[in-house]
C-alpha cells in the first residue's frame, strides 16, 4: 500500500451530512490511540487543523448534493489507494435523498424563501454512485464495531464483505420481542444487519438505516407489512395492522430513496 516502513496516511472527508459518523470514529477512544501507532492521520477537518496534498486511505462521509461535490469525490478517489464510504449517507444516500421526491425549485423556496439565489444543489445520491469504494461502513450513524472491523481489514489487506442477513437475525439473538408482533411496521426483515439490532432493543422499530439487503424482496415485504397481507404465518399479526401500502412504502423511503428509485426505474423498463 505504501513504501515499506512508512505508515499509511489516512484522511477524513465530509460531504452533505450531520458529521455524526466522524464523531462515532472518535468513540473508538483508546483504540484510536492504538490505531495511531499504525497510521498517520493527515487530514481531518473536524478534528485537526492542516490539509494534506496526498493520502493513502480516504474515509468519506456524507452524500453528493452539489455539482462541485462530484469533482471533489473524483479527485479524492484518484488520490487515494483505498476509499471507504463511512456511514449510510455515503453508501445509500440516506434521508438526504428525501428532497429528491420534490421539485428542486419548490424545495429551495420552502427553506429559503423566494429571495434565495441560484443554489448549486442536485438530486442527492450516495458517494458510491459516483465513484467505486473499496469498503462500505453502513448505519446512521456508522456502526462502531463495523468501523473497527473495516480498519483492521484495511490494515491487513483483507476485503470486508458486508453481512447479508436481515436485522431480524440479530434481533432474535438479542431476545427482543418482535416489533411486528406489537403491530408496528418494522423494516428489519429486509434491512441489512450489522447494527446488533439496537433500535428494536430499545423499543423502536427498524427504520432501514443500513440499507436493503442484496435481493431483498420488497414486494413481499410491503404485502406482509400491510393490512392487505394474506401470509398465513403473519395472520395473527395481521389483525393488528391498520396501515396501507402507501404508508409502508413511505417508510421505505426514509433511508433508501436512491435504491428504491433505481428499483422503480428498472421495473418500468
Amino acid at each position: 500500500m505504501t513504501d515499506k516502513g512508512q505508515k499509511p496516511r489516512i484522511a477524513f472527508f465530509d460531504f452533505a451530512c450531520c458529521e455524526g459518523c466522524q464523531l462515532t470514529v472518535l468513540q473508538l477512544e483508546e483504540k484510536l490511540l492504538d490505531l495511531l501507532q499504525h497510521v498517520e492521520v493527515v487530514e481531518w477537518r473536524e478534528a485537526m487543523s492542516g490539509k494534506a496534498d496526498s493520502h493513502d486511505i480516504a474515509f468519506c462521509e456524507g452524500s453528493i448534493t452539489r455539482e462541485a461535490d462530484v469533482q471533489r469525490i473524483k479527485t479524492i478517489r484518484n488520490t487515494a489507494n483505498t476509499v471507504v464510504g463511512l456511514g449510510s449517507c455515503a453508501c445509500i444516500g440516506c434521508h438526504n435523498a428525501l428532497k429528491n421526491r420534490w421539485p428542486m425549485e419548490d424545495v429551495v423556496k420552502v427553506v429559503y424563501g423566494s429571495e434565495a439565489g441560484q443554489l448549486d444543489s442536485i438530486p442527492a445520491r450516495p458517494i458510491t454512485s459516483v465513484v467505486n469504494v473499496d469498503y462500505r461502513i453502513l448505519g446512521c450513524p456508522a456502526s462502531l464495531p463495523e468501523i473497527d472491523r473495516v480498519i483492521k481489514c484495511i490494515l491487513t489487506g483483507q476485503e470486508y464483505p458486508l453481512p447479508n442477513q436481515p436485522v431480524c437475525v440479530e434481533c432474535k439473538l438479542n431476545d427482543t420481542l418482535c416489533v411486528l408482533e406489537k403491530g408496528e411496521v418494522c423494516l428489519g426483515p429486509v434491512t441489512r444487519c450489522g447494527c446488533n439490532a439496537i433500535c428494536t432493543a430499545y423499543g423502536d422499530a427498524c427504520h432501514g438505516c443500513r440499507g436493503l439487503m442484496d435481493e431483498a424482496n420488497l414486494m413481499a415485504a410491503v404485502k406482509v407489512l400491510t393490512a392487505e397481507q394474506l401470509h398465513p404465518i403473519m395472520e395473527v399479526v395481521a389483525r393488528r395492522y391498520d396501515v396501507g401500502q402507501d404508508q409502508v412504502r413511505q417508510w421505505f423511503t426514509m433511508y433508501n430513496t436512491p435504491d428504491l428509485q433505481l428499483k422503480e426505474e428498472s421495473e418500468q423498463t
Binding site: C18, E19, S49, G50, G62, S121, G203
Partner: protein
C-alpha cells in the same frame, strides 16, 4: 505590520461543518471581515413535509451528529405541544438527564478536541497522545461517561434511538445507575483538572458587550425547558418566538441572520451562564470561580470556559436527577403516554449545547407534517460572531497574515459553531456590500 492584505481561510478546521473567513485590509484599514457558511444545504424543512410525526421526530435528530438529542428533544416538544400530549414526571426527568448527557458530551468535544489544540500548539488533540497521554485519556474518559449517560437514557448519543413522542418505548433498567453515578462523581475531579489545564492557557483579552439570549427557568438551570429571556430585559414564551426573533437575509453573506432587540445577539454557554448564573449548581459555581469566570462576562473567547462550568453543572445535576429517579423508582406504566394526533401547530424550544434551538411544526388531522420551521443556534450567532470579528480585527491587524488568520479562526472556534445544523444557512449570489 500588514498594510494591505486579503486573508482567506477556506473551510475553517476543528469546527462542525464548513465555513470560510474573509478579511480585507487596505492601507492599514480594515475594509471587510466576514464569516461565510458554505455548507451543502440539506433541506430538512422541505422534506419533512408529508412525513408522519414519528418520522419527523426520528429524522430531526439527523440534523446534527453532535446535538442529536437536542434536535430530537425540540421536535418532541413541538409535536407534543401540537397534539396536546403530556409526558409523565418520570419522562421529564429522563429527558432532562439525556440533555445533561448531551451538553456534557458536546462541550467536552469542543473544549478538548476543537478548542484546546490552539492553546496547546498542536494540530489536533490526538497529536498530544505521545507527549501528554493523560490529557487525551481524560478527554476520552469524560466523553465516554457522557456517552454512556445518553446511552442509558436513549440508547446512544448519535442518534438517540428511544426518545419518542409521549415518552419512551422501553422500560429503563435502574441497575446501571449506581455505577453510572459513581463515574459521574469521579468525573468531577477530571473537570477540576480541566480547569487547571485551561488556567495555563492565555485566553485572548477582548470584550464586546452584546445581547445575550437563552432559556431561563425559575427553579433550575434551563436546558430542556423554560422561557426565552434576553439580557436586554424580555421574557417571552417559546411559542411567541416569531414575534420577537426576526430572521433576515443579508446581501453580502451566505446565511440568514437573526435579531432580537439589537441587530445581533449571542446564544450558547456564555449567554446561559450570563443569564442564569444563580441557578448553576454549587460545584459549577465553584468551577466558575476557579476559572475566573464572572457573570456577566463579555469576552466571547470565554465561551469555552463557560462550557467547562456547564460540564461541572451537568455532572452534579445528573447525579441529582439519578437520585430522584432511584428514589421514586422507574415505573413501566409511566414510560409512554398515550398519543392522539390532531391538527395543529406547536413550538419546542430547548437549549442545545450551542444555544437556544426552536423547532416548529404544523400537522394535519392524521399527524402528517404540513410545515416545519427550525431556528438553529449557530445561525442566530452568525451576526454576533461577525460583529465580534469586526471589533476584534483592528486590534490584531499589525500582526502578519498567518497570525491574523489564526486569531480569527480561534474566535470562530470559541463560538463552537455547528454548521451542519444550520438548516437555514445558504449560499446566495448576493453582491458584496458597499
Amino acid at each position: 505590520m500588514t498594510d494591505s492584505a486579503h486573508i482567506q481561510v477556506h473551510h475553517v478546521t476543528r469546527v462542525e461543518g464548513h465555513g470560510d473567513i474573509t478579511v480585507r485590509i487596505q492601507d492599514g484599514t480594515l475594509e471587510e471581515v466576514r464569516f461565510s457558511v458554505v455548507e451543502a444545504p440539506r433541506f430538512f424543512e422541505a422534506f419533512l413535509r408529508d412525513r408522519d410525526y414519528a418520522e419527523v421526530t426520528h429524522l430531526a435528530s439527523r440534523i446534527c451528529g453532535i446535538c442529536a438529542v437536542s434536535h430530537r428533544g425540540a421536535a418532541l416538544k413541538a409535536t407534543e405541544a401540537a397534539f396536546g400530549t403530556k409526558i409523565s414526571d418520570q419522562s421529564f426527568l429522563l429527558r432532562r438527564l439525556a440533555f445533561h448527557g448531551e451538553v456534557l458530551s458536546s462541550h467536552i468535544l469542543h473544549i478538548y478536541f476543537l478548542a484546546a489544540p490552539d492553546y496547546l500548539g498542536v494540530p489536533s488533540l490526538l497529536h498530544l497522545a505521545e507527549k501528554d497521554r493523560d490529557t487525551v485519556l481524560r478527554a476520552m474518559r469524560l466523553k465516554q461517561t457522557a456517552y454512556d449517560l445518553c446511552q442509558w437514557v436513549v440508547g446512544r448519543h448519535t442518534h438517540p434511538v428511544a426518545m419518542n413522542v409521549g415518552g419512551f418505548p422501553f422500560v429503563h433498567d435502574a441497575k446501571p445507575l449506581g455505577p453510572l453515578r459513581e463515574r459521574l462523581e469521579k468525573s468531577m475531579a477530571d473537570i477540576r483538572d480541566t480547569v487547571s489545564l485551561f488556567n495555563t492557557f492565555s485566553i485572548p483579552e477582548f470584550e464586546r458587550e452584546t445581547e445575550y439570549v437563552s432559556l431561563s427557568h425559575p427553579e433550575h438551570y434551563a436546558l430542556y425547558d423554560g422561557n426565552v429571556v434576553s439580557s436586554d430585559g424580555q421574557r417571552i414564551s417559546p411559542d411567541q418566538y416569531r414575534d420577537f426573533i426576526e430572521e433576515y437575509p443579508v446581501s453580502y453573506s451566505t446565511a440568514k441572520y437573526a435579531r432580537f432587540n439589537r441587530p445581533e445577539y449571542m446564544v450558547g454557554a456564555l449567554a446561559r451562564v450570563n443569564n442564569n448564573f444563580e441557578h448553576l449548581s454549587p460545584f459549577a459555581q465553584e468551577v466558575a470561580d476557579l476559572a475566573a469566570l464572572r457573570a456577566p462576562c463579555f469576552n466571547p473567547f470565554m465561551n469555552t470556559t463557560a462550557q467547562i462550568v456547564e460540564c461541572a453543572h451537568c455532572l452534579e445535576e445528573s447525579i441529582q436527577i439519578i437520585d430522584q429517579l432511584v428514589e421514586r423508582n422507574i415505573r413501566a406504566e409511566e414510560e409512554q403516554a398515550e398519543v392522539i394526533p390532531r391538527a395543529g401547530r406547536g413550538v419546542g424550544a430547548v437549549e442545545a449545547p450551542r444555544g437556544t434551538l426552536f423547532h416548529e411544526y404544523a400537522y394535519d388531522v392524521n399527524g402528517a407534517c404540513t410545515s416545519a420551521n427550525l431556528v438553529i443556534p449557530t445561525a442566530q450567532n452568525l451576526g454576533n460572531l461577525e460583529a465580534d470579528m469586526r471589533a476584534y480585527a483592528p486590534g490584531i491587524v499589525y500582526q502578519d497574515e498567518k497570525a491574523i488568520a489564526h486569531a480569527l479562526e480561534m474566535l470562530v472556534r470559541a463560538y463552537d459553531p455547528c454548521i451542519s445544523c444550520s438548516t437555514h444557512v445558504i449560499k446566495t449570489t448576493g453582491s458584496t456590500p458597499s
